[in-house]
């Protein structure tokens, strides 16, 4: 019985302990359930995102770049079809073997193979390696023929930038190339970047990147744990960049570029009312298409080491003393401030009796001297002596106020070109700040003939001419077509003088800000006087550009020559009096010319600069003359086109 009692006791113990265990089990299971609840219900979203991140991988597809058009919608930068060879890295078993086969098929050199290995290091295992982005048709068909032997190789039809006018536009449009690390840091590129995407390196291509670049597409694939694509889930199509219209007329641009062939220099042409840059040529030039797929060493060396500096856009980044082309502005300033009566007579006695100031001699360019000169004649024949005297009376500060007002000393095209130069319009304050020296009167005197500290770009001279030719109104120069401006309105406003007159008459001589399309002159007659003198310079006997004139009033223009010294003229030079051809190239004067046309009803201004071209009348004016004819011939077309009649283009 004892044993039976013990047995009952033992049974109870076992059962009791079982229940304690069962309670523990229930607790632990409850723990599991709450954990499940946490993961699957509370934190579900978090894990769903993580799961999608796991299984979905995105590939960005590069967008097509926006095209660039000229004023008449002619394509200046397009996207051409190219043949490319891509390697899908995760499909390749043996990279070395594949590269070896490709190397033999399309003939890569050692350097290119090395580059491929370097490129691969930077890519992830599921990325695509672009072996060549511009195969010839021959190479492309070879690859296709042997495709079954090339695992992971993918021949691709793609597009790349193409510039049909190649050399004629490179300084305006610029070019594209592979993005550098610095490029990728730019915000507009950073947010749109796709490996392999070409980005603007210079010019419009670079400064208008945000419009041209477009928006990349996204291909979403479901991938497995080893990164292999299983299926495409989603495809957001890429958006092409917006098209950009320039104000350039490619026909005129081409012609200007042709005129500059073999020379170093620049030709700019501008609409004097609308401020549209019609042509902006710079020479020598180079082919932007070479940069699209990476320029080779030899070509790059050739461009970089050319002594005529093709990489410099001379129209906006070349700085030159304006020389005599500055004279109309000096005359205008003197008249506006009432410094001198245009009837005042100054005698130019030639090299034997130069202008003297504090013992320093200042010579006229003409050895024999001009004789007795009034202002109109002094502009027409470009007499230096007259302008020495005038500048002395005017003073550099007043001159700089007017020079700046008419467009010198600051960017003409805003921030479109990051290499555009400001130039320099000196005054006493500038010299004190920059050089910590006081101004000398002698410096004022040579400033009067556009020499000395003053430095301008050819486009600034073109703008200066335009703003005088339009009757003294401030215009807004631009090279990107601006649909927000009503040009007819602007032209009427300026021609009919309908602009507001917010300033007191006196104030026009102060250093004031004047807004677009408002008058800048103090007295209208002063402007007309200068324009008339420029007419004389071109169309009257003894005028410096008389030989380049047109008698047909349709093409008749007015202009001013300029010869800018690149070094000081010594007494020895004066005695030798060599012809341009006899002087060493680097020491020759720059030839300049500014003009506006047609004279009767001006519409365009032009500036020509030939580096080391000798005298303005011989080297620069004839080119301007030729271009003016072309521009005026095309004016009607432009006018009609810009007024909405597109049928003519």
């Amino acid at each position: 019985m004892l044993s039976r009692g013990r047995n009952i006791e033992k049974g109870r113990v076992i059962t009791r302990r079982m229940f304690i265990l069962a309670a523990a089990k229930i607790l632990l299971f409850a723990g599991i359930s709450s954990r499940l609840y946490n993961l699957q219900i509370s934190d579900r979203e978090k894990y769903e995102i993580l799961s999608d991140k796991n299984r979905i991988r995105e590939w960005k597809t590069p967008p097509q770049r926006g095209i660039i058009l000229d004023n008449f919608n002619k394509v200046l930068a397009s996207n051409d079809r190219v043949f490319q060879l891509h390697l899908i890295l995760d499909e390749i078993k043996d990279f070395d073997v594949t590269v070896f086969k490709i190397k033999n098929l399309i003939g890569l050199d050692k350097f290119q193979v090395k580059k491929l290995y370097k490129k691969r290091e930077r890519l992830k295992s599921w990325d695509t390696l672009v072996v060549s982005d511009n195969l010839s048709w021959e190479q492309f068909s070879k690859i296709n023929l042997y495709l079954h032997e090339l695992e992971g190789a993918k021949p691709v039809l793609s597009t790349s930038r193409f510039y049909p006018y190649a050399n004629d536009l490179v300084h305006i449009v610029g070019y594209v190339g592979d993005a550098s690390l610095k490029d990728i840091e730019k915000p507009e590129i950073k947010e749109n970047f796709v490996p392999g995407l070409k980005v603007g390196k210079y010019g419009i291509e670079s400064s208008q990147e945000q419009h041209l670049i477009g928006k990349y597409g996204i291909k979403r694939y479901e991938v497995n744990a080893s990164g292999k694509r299983i299926s495409q889930i989603d495809y957001i199509k890429e958006l092409q960049g917006s098209k950009i219209n320039l104000t350039i007329d490619i026909e005129i641009q081409k012609y200007a570029q042709e005129l500059l062939k073999g020379k170093a220099g620049s030709i700019c042409a501008m609409d004097i009312y609308t401020g549209e840059v019609v042509a902006m040529a710079s020479s020598p030039t180079y082919d932007p298409n070479k940069f699209t797929h990476g320029i080779n060493q030899k070509d790059w060396k050739e461009i970089r080491e050319n002594p005529l500096k093709p990489l410099v856009n001379k129209s906006i980044a070349g700085l030159y003393s304006p020389g005599s082309t500055f004279k109309p502005l000096v005359a205008l300033a003197a008249l506006e401030y009432g410094i001198l009566d245009p009837e005042k007579i100054v005698r130019c006695k030639g090299h034997k009796h130069p202008y003297e100031l504090y013992g320093v001699k200042y010579h006229c360019w003409k050895k024999e001297g001009h004789g007795y000169m009034k202002l109109r004649n002094a502009i027409k024949q470009s007499c230096d002596i007259y302008f020495y005297e005038m500048a002395r009376l005017l003073g550099v500060d007043r001159l700089s106020t007017i020079a700046k007002r008419y467009g010198l000393g600051s960017h003409v095209l805003g921030d479109i070109y990051n290499d555009e130069k400001n130039g320099l319009v000196p005054n006493t304050k500038w010299k004190r700040n920059a050089l910590e020296q006081s101004w000398y009167l002698g410096e004022t005197v040579i400033n009067g003939i556009g020499q000395g500290y003053i430095q301008t770009t050819p486009l600034q001279l073109c703008l200066m001419t335009a703003q005088m030719a339009n009757g003294g109104y401030k215009i807004k120069p631009h090279i990107l077509k601006d649909d927000t401006i009503n040009y007819q309105d602007v032209i009427n406003k300026i021609k009919l003088g309908q602009s507001n007159y917010p300033f007191h008459e006196r104030n026009y001589l102060d250093d004031i800000d004047i807004s677009y399309y408002q008058r800048m002159y103090h007295k209208k007659s002063n402007i007309n006087f200068v324009l008339d003198a420029m007419f004389g310079s071109t169309n009257e006997r003894y005028g410096t550009s008389f030989r380049s004139r047109y008698d047909d009033p349709k093409y008749q223009f007015a202009g001013k020559t300029g010869t800018s010294q690149v070094r000081r003229i010594t007494e020895l030079d004066r005695e030798l009096d060599l012809d341009t051809e006899q002087i060493e190239y680097k020491k020759r004067d720059h030839a300049l010319y500014i003009a506006f046309a047609p004279y009767r009803d001006p519409r365009y201004s032009i500036s020509v600069l030939i580096e080391h071209g000798g005298s303005g009348s011989k080297a620069a004016a004839p080119l301007a003359s030729k271009l003016i004819k072309k521009i005026i011939d095309r004016h009607k077309l432009r006018e009609q086109f810009n007024n909405g009649d597109t049928s003519l283009a």
Binding site: I14, L39, Q40, R44, K46, N54, R55
Partner: protein, 376 residues
């Protein structure tokens, strides 16, 4: 003599059929069916190797279960120690002639099956301990002699299994053994003491762990320590389960497992796959099936007359609970990753065999529940 000791009851075949626990069989079939679907899903919805093998093994071992259910419980009692010794011998065979896979030597090649003796040992220990405590009087139970003996019995197989190395199975063997020691009525203070001792010796224990085991434990506390290495399994498993949500991603639509982000998805991580595809709802239902299974086993223990049957059923129920808990807690990131399959669900012959064997003993306890087994 023997016949005298065991008071055999004569059952007719009809009686036997009547006393079968059909609910238990139903639960086994239900979990088995779920496991077939789950394994089918691990293969991306293709009827191939794993699915075929799993079905074959399930039907084979289920039949074995049915047949062995009719073995008298007294037979198990009589052969308990032999079972234990066979298990030990097999573990020794593994030690010297075992076949290796991924750095561990756990299997004996039986040509039709790679037998994992440690899985059999899980059951053998329970049977052996049930018999051991069956005969000990409750007055003697606290004596040191009866305390030391079972500990030695437990340490030998645990040590052999750790040598393979297989920490997970070893812990599960130890766990089920300790459960029976607890059930037998050993004073609670021993558990408290040994618990404290374990805590104190933990740093030392960690220092003798294999580097991969250490890394697993460190990773458990901070899976982001090495997200592509040791932490990968935990992180991916949590992502799979969490992204399943309430209703799951749908059958055969578990992206985590389908796209091969989940490792060992047909064995240790089968629950993850199931939970990803069937969500919280499915997981709770599966969990409930396991709870029912454990409840039924305990129920058999409660209606059995002999201590052996009681101890065995309660012990086996606790073992099943441990397997389920360790596995699920592991895939949920609540416990470090140690190799521990989910009973019936996981693909793996030895584990399935041992579970079915264990269940057949439970069933035989049920069928012969009135059988008295003499203490002497």
């Amino acid at each position: 003599m023997l016949r005298e000791r065991i008071q055999a009851t004569n059952y007719s075949f009809f009686d036997k059929l009547k006393s079968i626990d059909y609910l238990l069989i139903l639960l086994i079939i239900a979990i088995g069916a779920i496991s077939v679907f789950a394994i089918y899903s691990t293969e991306g919805g293709k009827f191939s190797f794993y699915t075929k093998n799993h079905i074959l093994r399930l039907s084979l071992f289920f039949s074995l279960f049915l047949v062995l259910s009719f073995v008298r419980v007294s037979t198990w009692y009589k052969n308990a120690y032999i079972f234990y010794v066979i298990g030990l011998v097999l573990l020794l065979v593994v030690l010297f002639f075992g076949i290796s896979a991924s750095g561990a030597t756990r299997w004996i090649n039986l040509y039709f099956l790679n037998l994992q003796p440690s899985e059999l040992m899980k059951i053998a220990v329970i049977v052996c301990f049930a018999r051991y405590y069956h005969r000990i009087q409750s007055s003697d139970i606290q004596s040191y002699k009866f305390l030391i003996q079972p500990i030695i019995l437990l340490i030998i197989p645990c040590y052999l299994v750790i040598q393979q190395p297989d920490l997970g199975t070893s812990i599960l063997i130890a766990g089920s053994g300790i459960a029976i020691i607890w059930l037998a009525g050993i004073n609670i203070k021993y558990f408290v003491y040994s618990g404290l001792l374990l805590l104190v010796s933990l740093p030392f224990a960690i220092s003798i762990l294999k580097p991969y085991q250490k890394s697993r434990i460190l990773t458990f506390f901070n899976p982001d320590r090495d997200p592509l290495g040791a932490g990968y399994q935990i992180i991916q498993s949590k992502i799979a389960i969490g992204s399943g949500g309430f209703f799951g991603k749908g059958y055969l639509k578990g992206t985590q497992s389908y796209l091969e982000f989940l490792p060992e998805k047909h064995t240790d991580f089968i629950f993850t796959l199931f939970s990803e595809e069937f969500g919280f709802l499915g997981s709770i239902i599966l969990l409930f099936l396991y709870i029912l299974l454990i409840y039924r086993i305990i129920n058999v223990g409660l209606v059995s007359r002999s201590f052996f049957a009681k101890l065995y059923c309660f012990g086996f129920a606790t073992a099943i609970f441990l397997y389920v808990f360790v596995n699920i807690a592991m895939v949920l990131g609540m416990l470090p990753i140690v190799g521990a399959p989910l009973p019936i669900m996981s693909y793996g012959g030895s584990s399935l065999l041992s579970i079915m064997l264990g269940l057949s003993i439970v069933m035989s306890c049920k069928i012969y529940n009135q059988e008295q087994i003499s203490v002497y």
